[in-house]
């Protein structure tokens, strides 16, 4: 049995407690958190994910026992009473992709902290040393009862020799921005691979390969990888020769970007307004700024719902109203609310709620490919929002 060694060991899993002890067919627990008990928990999480994946892929349902660390019992007649799941392949794909996204999210969080430390000039040598130490100490066997599942062993072989002084010295000779940029580039490439693979059926992309991709994603954001890439002689020239054009198959016209140029411009102008109406502005301590933004948003909403194009917007508004929370806000707005509530009075509709409704109207129009309404909405913003 190969051992499961993860550079993901900086990620840990805290299993949810307080839930019913046994639930049928829920997802494996995945509540990532930062604790000291790193490796066992990440391995436990991934082992559970793999059990659930395997069970679903074979067309059975499974149970999750939260009280026992999220242990999976496959209802295949061996681990528990047989319970077929006709949609097992879809469930397995969901588990696989969810595991990937959980891992990516956790890794992103750690990477953000790491680059912040780098930018702030904190010590980095510990990070490199940590990677190596974890790589050598994190090996843990997955022993699981019902089926002899093995989580793919992923060695950090490439990293074990990395605490060599020349590499640390090499780092010191590099500017931090260049190293971070290289790591960013490495990570984006690997993430693109993950996104592509997530589209694949489980027959072509199993959970072992997915775990490997997650590990590669973590490794892509390490200094060690940045060292190795940057230390290539004539790195730029080497890079140039490696640049390739993708070869794609199975593409359909739904993937083509067909939005006309004028609508693209309208969309990007609306994006400027979206950025402007940030929480910082809407909740500004400057009452005048806040009131101005509120007045503009109310004017935009009023023009959408009662202006010259109100009939065109109606199908979009009806769709937005299917969301109960947004409907409640819209009902209040439609009933008429004070332009600016007094400081003492409870706020019937917050500035952020008005903004959220407006931009949901916009997104709904876009999802319905309503190019004309998009341009109209841009015109309304330009007309009513003078900030």
């Amino acid at each position: 049995m190969r051992y499961f060694v993860l550079s993901l060991t900086l990620v840990s899993v805290v299993l949810t407690t307080g839930c019913p002890k046994s639930l049928v067919k829920t997802r494996p627990p995945y509540n990532f958190n930062h604790t000291d008990a790193l490796t066992p928990r990440i391995n436990e999480y991934l082992a559970n994910a793999q059990n659930a994946f395997d069970c679903s892929a074979r067309g059975f349902r499974y149970q999750v026992n939260y009280a026992a660390g999220g242990k999976i019992t496959c209802l295949d007649g061996l681990g528990g009473p047989a319970s077929a799941n006709p949609a097992g392949a879809d469930e397995a794909k969901r588990i696989r992709n969810e595991m990937l996204e959980d891992a990516v999210g956790a890794i992103d969080g750690l990477y953000g902290q790491f680059t912040d430390d780098l930018n702030n000039g904190h010590s980095t040598t510990n990070f490199v040393a940590d990677v190596v130490d974890l790589g050598t100490s994190a090996a843990i066997g997955i022993t699981n009862g019902e089926r002899a599942l093995q989580v793919m062993g992923i060695a950090l072989t490439a990293f074990r020799g990395s605490r060599k002084s020349f590499e640390l010295n090499y780092f010191k000779e590099q500017s931090t921005p260049i190293l971070i940029a290289k790591m960013d580039d490495n990570r984006s490439k690997q993430y693109a691979i993950i996104l592509r693979n997530e589209d694949k059926p489980i027959s072509n992309y199993g959970i072992k390969a997915a775990v490997k991709d997650a590990v590669d994603y973590f490794n892509a954001g390490t200094l060690v990888r940045a060292f190795s890439e940057l230390s290539k002689s004539t790195a730029q020239q080497a890079d140039a020769s490696e640049k390739k054009v993708l070869k794609l198959r199975g593409v359909d016209d739904s993937q083509l970007f067909t939005t006309p140029e004028a609508v693209v411009d309208a969309i990007n102008l609306i994006g400027v307004f979206k950025s402007h109406y940030s929480d910082k502005v809407l909740n500004s301590t400057d009452a005048a700024i806040k009131a101005k933004a509120r007045g503009e948003l109310l004017a935009v909403y009023t023009e959408i719902t009662t202006g010259a194009k109100k009939d065109d917007f109606k199908p979009v508004l009806d769709e937005v109203r299917k969301n109960a929370a947004l409907k409640a806000v819209m009902d209040k707005l439609d009933a008429g609310i004070p332009e600016q509530p007094s400081p003492a009075a409870p706020i019937a509709v917050t500035n952020a709620e008005i903004r959220d409704v407006i931009f949901k109207i916009y997104l709904t129009a876009r999802s319905q490919k309503k190019d004309d309404l998009t341009v109209t909405l841009k015109d309304i913003f330009v007309d009513k929002a003078t900030s």
Partner: protein, 115 residues
Amino acid sequence: MQPILHRATLTLGELQSECLAVENGSQGVFAKLVHLQAADLEVPVNSQNKFNEGRYVEIGDNDPIQELKFIPVEDPNDIPTQISDQLQDKFLLIFDELLYVQDNQQRVLGFGRTS
């Protein structure tokens, strides 16, 4: 989000604008560009087989939109300087790839900044 294919005939500015439009919700969700690369289709779509494949991830409705800046690479020796210069403005490298720009292959650095 499924990948978005942008036309190979666009100028670099037009391509950047389209990518920003996707980020700004052209597909019905707000998104973030994570990768862009020239792509040849084995089977043409709309009689075209050259595109730029953009990879995006959906973001929350109130998350800030990433600003984009695409810079053509004329001399690879300038890349470290370009990256370093952009980092001074808090633009992080998103991709370093070949793209189709006005139907020609062009190496491009793509940067993003999220305030």
